[in-house]
Symmetry: C2
Subunit: 412 residues, 2 copies
C-alpha cells in the first residue's frame, strides 16, 4: 500500500487526551497497512501564548527570534505524539522540520519550502516507522529555523505528500469538511463531498477557514488528492480532487458554495489624476509596508480623473488609509475609507458555462435591500463587499436563492 500523509491541527492535539486520541487514529491507519507520515501543529493555544510572551519582553520582536521561539510548539507536539504511539506499540520517530529535510528560502516568518530532502523519512518508512514531522517550519541556508507563515502546517503536509508521492493527504480539523456555507449561519448548509482544487482555493481565499489556500494551490500544482476530515469523528469529510467539478456537474450541482469573511475594510481614492504608472504609485507603498490588498476596483476615468477602491484586512486599515492618503494628495485627489465591512462570495466552476450568476446575486441582495459596496468577479466566483452587519443575512439569502440546501448529499 502507498504512503498517506495526515495533518492534525492545533485543536486536534490541544491536550494530552487529544494527543492520545490522535495516536489511536494513527494506529488504526497504520494497521490498515499505509506508510504513514503525520504532520502536527502546536498544541491548542501554544503559539498565541508564546507570541504573548514575545510581546511582553519586546516591543518589536525580531523575526528570526520569533521563528526560533514559535518553532518549539510543533516540536513539543511531535515528541508527545511519538510517545503516545510507542505506548500503543506503534514504531514511530519524531522529526523537527530541519530533521525532516525541509529546506526553505524567503524571509523569517514567511518561509517558502524550496527543497525537501526525503532520505531520512524514506529510511524510517522503510523500517515500518510512522514518521511524525513538526509542521510550519524548515531550515534556511545558514542553519536557522524559519517558519512558513499562516497555513504553514497545511502547506507542510501537502508538500510532503507531493515529495513522497503519497496516495493522498488527509487534513484533520475540528469540522467535518467543507460546507456550502458556514453551518453556524445557515443550519441547512450541507457538506460538499467532492470539490475541485480551483474551487477550494477560491473558497479558502474568500473566507472558508478549513484549509489554507496556499496549501490547496500547492496540492493542485502537484496533483495531490486532499481529504478534509474531522479528527473527532469518523465522517467522510470533503475530497479535493481534480475533475471533481465535472462529476458534480453531471448531477447539476453547479455551485460549490457560499463563503464569507468579516475581516474587510475599504479604502477609496477619489478624483485622482490617472495615467501610466498610477496603479503602481498607489500600490507599491502598500506592498512595501507589508499591507495585503484584496479586491481592487478602478472606475472609468472622467475628465482625466478617476476613483480607485481596494479592500484590506481590518488590522491594516489605519496604515493603508495613511499611505493611500499621501498618494491621493500627490495626485490631486482625496481619500476616504470604511472600516466595518465584510464580503460574500458565490464560488463554483459551474459559472464557467452558465453566465448570469453575478446578475442573479445582485438581484437577490437588492431585493433584500442589502447595499453592495464593491464587486469582484473571476471565472469561478463572484464576490460582493457589503456592510459587515448585513453579511450573515446575505449568506442565508444566497444559500436559499441558489438552492444549495436542496441538493442531496452524496458520499464519494
Amino acid at each position: 500500500m502507498g504512503i498517506v500523509v495526515q495533518k492534525y491541527g492545533g485543536s486536534s492535539v490541544a491536550t494530552a487526551e487529544h494527543i492520545k486520541a490522535v495516536a489511536e487514529r494513527v494506529r488504526k491507519a497504520r494497521e490498515a497497512g499505509h506508510g504513514l507520515v503525520v504532520v502536527v501543529s502546536a498544541m491548542g493555544k501554544t503559539t498565541d501564548r508564546l507570541l504573548a510572551l514575545a510581546n511582553e519582553v519586546s516591543s518589536e520582536p525580531s523575526p528570526r527570534e520569533i521563528d526560533q521561539l514559535l518553532s518549539t510548539g510543533e516540536r513539543q507536539s511531535v515528541a508527545l505524539l511519538a510517545m503516545a504511539l510507542h505506548d500503543r506499540g506503534v514504531a514511530a520517530t519524531s522529526l523537527t522540520g530541519p530533521q525532516a529535510g525541509m529546506e526553505t528560502s524567503g524571509r523569517y516568518g514567511s518561509g517558502v519550502i524550496s527543497t525537501i530532502r526525503t532520505e531520512r523519512m524514506k529510511k524510517l518508512l522503510d523500517e515500518g516507522q510512522v514518521v511524525i514531522v513538526a509542521g510550519f517550519q524548515g531550515m534556511n541556508a545558514v542553519g536557522d529555523v524559519v517558519t512558513l507563515g499562516r497555513g504553514g502546517s497545511d502547506t507542510t503536509a501537502v508538500a510532503l505528500a507531493a515529495a513522497l508521492y503519497a496516495e493522498r493527504c488527509e487534513i484533520y480539523t475540528d469540522v467535518t469538511g467543507v460546507f456550502t456555507a458556514d453551518p453556524r449561519i445557515v443550519p441547512s448548509a450541507r457538506r460538499i463531498p467532492l470539490i475541485s482544487p480551483a474551487e477550494m482555493a477560491e473558497m479558502a481565499w474568500r473566507g472558508a477557514k478549513v484549509m489554507h489556500p496556499r496549501a490547496v494551490e500547492l496540492g493542485a500544482l502537484y496533483g495531490v488528492e486532499i481529504h478534509v476530515r474531522s479528527s473527532f469523528s469518523e465522517e467522510p469529510g470533503t475530497v479535493i480532487r481534480e475533475g471533481s467539478n465535472l462529476e458534480r456537474l453531471e448531477t447539476r450541482e453547479t455551485l460549490a458554495g457560499i463563503v464569507h469573511d468579516l475581516d474587510v475594510s475599504r479604502i477609496t481614492l477619489t478624483g485622482i489624476r490617472t495615467g501610466p504608472g498610477t496603479m503602481s504609485r498607489v500600490f507599491t507603498p502598500l506592498a512595501e509596508s507589508g499591507v495585503s490588498v484584496d479586491v481592487i476596483v478602478e472606475s472609468a476615468p472622467k475628465e482625466g480623473a478617476s476613483d480607485i477602491a481596494f479592500t484590506v484586512g481590518r488590522g491594516d486599515y489605519r496604515d493603508a488609509l495613511r499611505l493611500a492618503g499621501e498618494v491621493a494628495g500627490s495626485l490631486g485627489g482625496e481619500v476616504e475609507g470604511e472600516e466595518e465591512l465584510g464580503k460574500v462570495s458565490v464560488v463554483g466552476t459551474g459559472m464557467l458555462n452558465r453566465p448570469g450568476y453575478a446578475a442573479r446575486m445582485f438581484a437577490s441582495l437588492g431585493k433584500a435591500g442589502i447595499p453592495i459596496r464593491m464587486v469582484s468577479t473571476s471565472e469561478i466566483q463572484v464576490t460582493c463587499v457589503l456592510p459587515a452587519e448585513r453579511v450573515e443575512e446575505a449568506v442565508r439569502i444566497l444559500h436559499e436563492d441558489f438552492e444549495l440546501e436542496g441538493m442531496e448529499e452524496r458520499d464519494v
Copy 2:
C-alpha cells in the same frame, strides 16, 4: 577585554519580567566591554510541566522523544532573552545547542559534551553580538538532540567557558553564593567568598544545591574560574578558584562548610560469603539498573562472612532493596534497609593537614545523642549518615562546634 560566560537558571528566567531583568544585567555587562556568551535554562517549571505531559501520554516515554520534547524549553528562553536584549539596543543572537556547535556522545537524557565547534559563536562575538546559548543540550552523530542530564546548563556554561578561553564563568542562581551551611537551618551561616574547586565539588556531591558537581569538576579540569552569584542582587557571591583554599588557610579558615542531604536510604547485606568478585556481584546489577550508589562500607570479614552497606537516593530504594536481596540470597546472607535517612558532611581542604576532624565530628554528634549509621571519609571531607529527622539538628551543632559562624566574611 576577554570573554565572560554567564549562566541563568530556570528561576532567573521564570517570567517575562524576570527575563527583562536578566536582559538588563546582560546589557550592563556588555556595556562594561566584555565579550558575552549567555547560557539559559528553561523558564521556571517548564521542564517539569513537559515531563508531566510526557507521562500523561505514555507510561514509559522513550528517551529520544523526551530529549526532543525537553530541549524546547531552553530554546524558548534563548529566543525570548534575545528579543529582550534587542529591545534594549543590544545586538544578540540566540543559538540552540546544535546551532552553538555542542556535539555530544552518550545516551539520550545523559549526553556528554564531546566537542564544541565554536566557529559560529566566535563569528558572532567578533561582530560584537551577545551570543545566547540554550543550555542542557547538544546534537549527536545522527543529528538528534540529546540532553545533558542533571546540571546540564551549568555544564554547558563551564564547557563553553573552557572552549572559548573565557576569563570566567558566572553562574546566576536564586541564592547569593555558597554558604557555610544552609541558611534556612543555620541563620548565622556565612557566605564563603572563596572556595577551591575540590572543596566545591565535595560540597556539591554531598548536598549543596547551588551548582552541579559535574560542572565544578569540569571547571577544575580546565582551570575555569567560576563565580556563583544571585541574579536578584548585586552581592559579590562565591568565587571558585584553584588556590582559594590556601588563601583561606592563611586566615585560619580551614573548613569550607557543612552540607547535608535528606535524600538518602541505606541497604545492608549481612552475613554474606565474601571472596574475590563479591563487590562486583553486589554492585554490577545495581549499575545495570541505573541505580546510583553513594557511600559504600564493608565490614571486616568474620569467619568468612561479612556485611556490606551502601546508600542510594530514596527514589531508588525499592529497586535497590530487591536487587540486593537477590544477591544476598545467592551469597548465603540477608538484606535489610532503612529508607528515611540523611547525611551530614564537613568539607574543607584544611583537613588535609590537620587530622582529628572526624573524631571531633563524632564527639559532637555523640554528645547530642545523634546516632551515626555509616561513615565515609576522604582527604577533604567526613560524611556521617544519620536518621533523617536528626539532620537539621546535626547541621546546627556542627556549624557551632566547628566555629564556622565566628569567622569574618571577607570579599574577594
